[in-house]
């Protein structure tokens, strides 16, 4: 395998990982604040839909290169609105968090397709739009392997990598992050110290909607170009896996997302080799999922979820 192929492999890995990084970062905000978020899949769907529709109308209005960014903004807004459904049910009305997260998935699947048909005269798919194009960073993109692999990517990929570091910093080095984590570990202690538990949790869930929305948007704006019923198909659940895999830590989740991206990318590359013809394609398709289980069994071990994860906060039980 020469360097060019290696660089391309790295590049494809990052393209596949980007959406997962955004969504799993979103999951971290929600779950660190103590609210389970099974709804990432639905939130990504909202984002992918909003990006496709927003991008389409922005393109129509002649915004050219800026149109995809309008799509991203729409995805952020719709993601937040979608996550509020989960927040109201789980935080204010103390519903079972797994259930209200599942509700998001249902509502997203139903309402996005309903609206696509409404907006585009019964079609099951949004019109094809121009998404982001890759941006080469001057100088850095000339480095062998890494230049082709990392510094010649979509703007969303750069954004995702920057956000990993920023969010790590926010979570572990700022008072806000400390409060958010406290609310997820020991809400009554945090309450005693004057932290508004429900407010922090609302913020956590809304940030998860925002980030998962961007995650969904990157899929329509860099990979598919349209939104249809199968645009997300399980990516949100894989993002949840990446979050758990990465032990609710942005750096860990980043590693896990890249790992998933890599195993998807390698699946495409293995097929280029002659020897792979003798292996049934189904076994090649299985690689990412089998690898995940093997890595989990051999390396990661017990998960370390936030202690109050899944428990509605009830001040009277303090």
């Amino acid at each position: 395998m020469d360097f060019v192929v290696l660089g391309q492999l790295l590049n494809t890995t990052l393209v596949f990982s980007t959406a997962l990084i955004f969504a799993s970062l979103g999951g971290i905000f929600s779950e660190r604040s103590g609210v389970v978020n099974i709804g990432l899949e639905g939130l990504m769907m909202f984002g992918a839909f909003a990006a496709a529709v927003g991008g389409y109308y922005a393109q129509d209005a002649g915004m050219g290169e800026w149109a995809p960014w309008v799509g991203v903004l729409c995805a952020m807004a719709v993601g937040i609105i979608g996550s509020l459904i989960h927040a109201v049910a789980a935080i204010t009305f103390k519903a079972d968090q797994t259930i209200s997260g599942t509700v998001i998935n249902f509502l997203a699947a139903g309402s996005t397709l309903y609206m696509v048909k409404l907006f585009f005269e019964g079609s099951g798919e949004t019109p094809l739009i121009d998404g982001f194009s890759k941006v080469a960073i001057p100088g850095l993109s000339k480095i062998p392997v890494i230049g082709e692999g990392i510094f010649n990517s979509y703007p969303t990929t750069y954004l995702a990598i920057i956000l990993v570091i920023v969010i790590y910093f926010i979570l572990f080095k700022t008072p806000f992050g400390l409060r958010l984590r406290a609310v997820g570990e020991h809400p009554s202690a945090a309450d005693t110290l004057g932290v508004n538990v429900n407010k922090m949790r609302y913020i956590g869930v809304m940030l998860s909607g925002l980030l998962a929305g961007i995650g969904g948007a990157t899929i329509t704006l860099t990979t598919t170009g349209t939104f249809a019923h199968n645009t997300i198909s399980g990516q949100g659940f894989i993002a949840i896996a990446a979050m758990i895999f990465g032990k609710w830590n942005p750096l860990g989740a980043f590693g896990a997302a890249v790992f998933f991206g890599f195993s998807q990318a390698i699946r495409n590359y293995v097929q280029l080799f002659e020897w792979s013809k003798s292996i049934p394609q189904e076994f090649i398709f299985m690689i990412p999922y089998v690898l995940t289980i093997i890595v989990l069994v051999s390396a990661v071990g017990r998960s370390s979820a936030p202690k109050a994860l899944g428990e509605p906060y009830d001040p009277s039980k303090r």
């Binding site: 659940f237 894989i238 989990l296 990661v300």
Partner: protein, 358 residues
């Protein structure tokens, strides 16, 4: 009369009923926003389900796998686990039923072949779920991740087996399966709707669910583990063993759903283009049914009616059938966030209290 009032005074009945009504209301509002006529749409929906014996039979056919996957998810839930993997377990069950039915078709008489195929589906579905249970019990690995991964692996494994061993020449599906669960004696009554014994199996599974969890010592342990694994451990129960057993039983239910589809409905197995989604419907049914077996049956009836009827809705009133997912999602939302329903009902509760005082 007082007895009737007592029934309606209990939240267990009234809250879900009001939640369902509110779900329909949300659907109606969404339809109005889209410029559709909700009354025409809902009547087309129910007319589709109850309009002809054939459609009624097909609706029952639609409800059957929902019941079983709903039971699968609910059973795991009661034991403290979230089984997102019913989908994969259904596929594995289908594949096992196909392999046994087709490979032993010429060898065994049908009174042996059919039960064997059904048992194979149940056991394989159970073992597939058991992998996730085992990894959770032995290595503490979150079952949400493993069941998601196992769904994908099941999809590809099933396709591999069908493509390599069972393929009908020149087509993307298996040979015809000689084992059949069809209720042929009912076909003429329901105008050739594809009714099958899977429905009876599903009802039996629900009965087993109830008796096992609430009437046996093992079931008591399982519920204890589900409610509080640490307390159960202190009480001397083997948490790990219960986790594996609960996942196994959960997978058995899902595997049976697969057997019903292959042996009762299609009589062959296609190469899947994507995940068929039975398991995700099962999650909704389990939640709608408040993870109680009777509730799951009722929820499967509701869910089956709505999804089967949604096709009629799009024919009769031109409403996109996806709308029904909004209705179902809203119903689950209102059932989960019962506070909202109670708030809506508050004026009525108040009235009742006053009556009591008088």
């Amino acid at each position: 009369m007082s007895r009737l009032r007592k029934i309606f005074a209990t939240d267990v009945y009234i809250v879900p009923l009001v939640a369902i009504l509110m779900g329909f209301l949300v659907g109606a509002i969404v339809m109005l926003f889209g410029g559709y006529d909700p009354i025409a749409a809902y009547s087309a929906l129910f007319k589709r389900v109850f309009g002809s014996p054939y459609d009624f039979g097909e609706a029952i056919r639609e409800m059957t796998p929902l019941m079983l996957t709903g039971l699968a998810v609910a059973f795991a839930f009661r034991s403290g686990m979230f089984n997102i993997g019913a989908d994969g377990q259904v596929m594995i069950g289908m594949t096992a039923a196909s392999v046994v039915g087709i490979k032993l078709g010429g060898v065994l008489p049908s009174f042996l072949l059919v039960p064997l195929a059904v048992i194979a589906a149940a056991v394989c579905g159970g073992l597939w779920a058991g992998i996730a249970g085992y990894l959770k019990a032995k290595r503490g690995i979150n079952e949400v991740i493993t069941t998601i991964m196992l769904n994908w692996i099941a999809l590809f494994l099933s396709n591999y087996i069908v493509r390599t061993f069972l393929l009908l020449q020149g087509q993307n599906r298996s040979e015809d399966n000689p084992a059949s669960l069809s209720m042929t004696f009912l076909f003429s009554t329901f105008d050739n709707a594809r009714l099958h014994w899977g429905t009876v199996i599903a009802l039996a599974a629900a009965t087993f669910f109830y008796v096992y969890l609430w009437k046996t010592k093992q079931g008591y342990e399982m519920r204890a583990v589900g409610l509080n694994p640490h307390a159960a451990e202190y009480a001397g129960m083997n948490v790990g063993r219960n986790v594996v057993k609960a996942m196994f039983i959960s997978g058995v239910f899902a595997g049976l759903a697969g057997a019903g589809e292959v042996l009762g409905v299609f009589h062959y197995q296609s190469v899947f283009a994507a995940s068929p989604g039975y398991g995700f419907d099962g999650i909704a049914v389990a939640l709608l049914g408040l993870t109680h077996p009777l509730g799951v049956i009722l929820a499967a009836i509701l869910y089956g009616t709505l999804t089967y009827g949604s096709a009629g809705m799009s024919f009769g009133a031109d409403v996109p059938p996806e709308l029904i997912r909004i209705v179902i999602g809203s119903i689950i939302f209102f059932i989960a966030a019962q506070g909202i329903v109670r708030w809506v009902l508050k004026p009525f509760y108040f009235k009742r209290k006053k009556e009591k005082v008088l």
